[in-house]
């Protein structure tokens, strides 16, 4: 962990604090009001706001998680140097791709 990764991980954590709270509030709202999948999609499709909200969430989570996995892999699996960075990038890009694909599925018209 160097200072650049440290700042990135803390910054993405700070970004995710309000996003996680809003996400949990949304889950409660949707379940308590008995929203169907069709009703949820009606709200999210073609919405720039939801695309930005969950797009930012996915990118922050992918960055944050990938840096954490880099630390874990170094300390618990003894992986070092370039292989460690490759693992971080691979894991982060995979998370970002899976997450953005899910966001696209609910926001694209």
């Amino acid at each position: 962990m160097n200072v650049r990764l440290y700042v990135l991980q803390r910054a993405t954590a700070a970004i995710m604090v309000p996003l996680v709270l809003a996400h949990i509030a949304l889950i409660f709202y949707a379940t308590r009001h008995g929203l169907s999948a069709a009703e949820i999609l009606a709200r999210t499709r073609a919405s720039i706001g939801w695309a930005a909200f969950y797009g930012l969430f996915v990118l922050a989570a992918a960055t944050h998680g990938a840096i954490g996995v880099r630390t874990l892999a170094g300390e618990w699996a003894g992986i070092k140097g370039g292989r460690l960075d490759m693992l971080m990038w691979g894991f982060g890009l995979m998370l970002a791709a899976l997450g953005l694909r899910a966001v696209a599925a609910v926001v694209l018209p």
Partner: protein, 238 residues
């Protein structure tokens, strides 16, 4: 307390084993006194380190009942509640023999963390007056009494997991210099501390603070270094 105590002492290298000795007890006897009694009376081949015997030199740290301690200031009565004491070498360093471990990497990491003073004046300049009440000096003074015993290094989980991590003692030393207004090596020091294996590798488990025999708080020093390096990074200096 009984008139003698059973002591298990590590013998050999990493693949060694504990050997038992019966050691007579005395009033105000320290763990170091017990080890010294064994070496002088039971087995002269026992290898261990000590120098000052009064908690100044940092030579005699060992693992006592699983905890790293300075043995010259640890009374045997304090650690022998069950009539038995287990004494081994410090963790996180290669064992040379018995209770003596190889501290080369520990001190090399002090160099890596730029733990040496970089003078900003020559011997021909007048001595700079430093007020003891300024914030930087107070921060440095709070961390300055380290005796290099490596107890914090042996207690640190991150050191055990990450061989590149410079460890709490080296970072605590660096913090005293970061707060030394006379020092001219801050740029290189902050760059070294901000790299992989530097202050950001610390997980803040606080074992260093828990075990430091001098009651120092290396974790506070490391937190200070994290703030300083982040500030320098944000300003584009790193």
């Amino acid at each position: 307390m009984a008139a003698a105590i059973e002591v298990s002492i590590w013998r050999g290298k990493a693949d060694g084993r504990y050997q038992r000795f019966m050691v007579p007890l005395h009033e105000s006897q320290t763990v170091l006194d017990v080890v010294t009694w064994v070496q002088r009376n039971a087995d002269p081949t026992l290898a261990y380190r000590y120098a000052c015997r009064v908690g100044m030199c940092g030579s005699c740290a060992m693992t006592v009942n699983g905890r790293p301690r300075w043995t010259c200031r640890t009374h045997i009565a304090k650690v022998a509640a069950k009539g038995h004491v287990e004494i081994g070498p410090l963790a996180n360093m290669p064992i040379i023999k018995d209770l003596a471990c190889d501290m080369a990497a520990f001190f090399e990491k002090w160099q890596r963390a730029k733990g040496t003073f970089a003078p900003s004046r020559s011997r021909r300049d007048p001595i700079e007056r430093i007020s003891p009440t300024t914030a930087p000096r107070l921060a440095a003074d709070a961390a300055i009494e380290c005796i290099n015993c490596a107890v914090c290094y042996a207690a640190c989980d991150t050191v055990r997991w990450n061989a590149d991590y410079v460890g709490p003692a080296a970072l605590n030393r660096a913090w005293t210099l970061v707060n030394d207004v006379r020092d001219a090596g801050q740029g290189k020091r902050l760059a070294a501390l901000a790299a992989d294996g530097g202050c950001h590798a610390c997980h803040s488990h606080q074992s260093c603070q828990e075990h430091c025999p001098k009651a120092l708080n290396p974790i506070a020093s490391i937190a200070g270094l994290k703030r300083r390096t982040v500030e320098a990074y944000v300003r584009g200096e790193l």
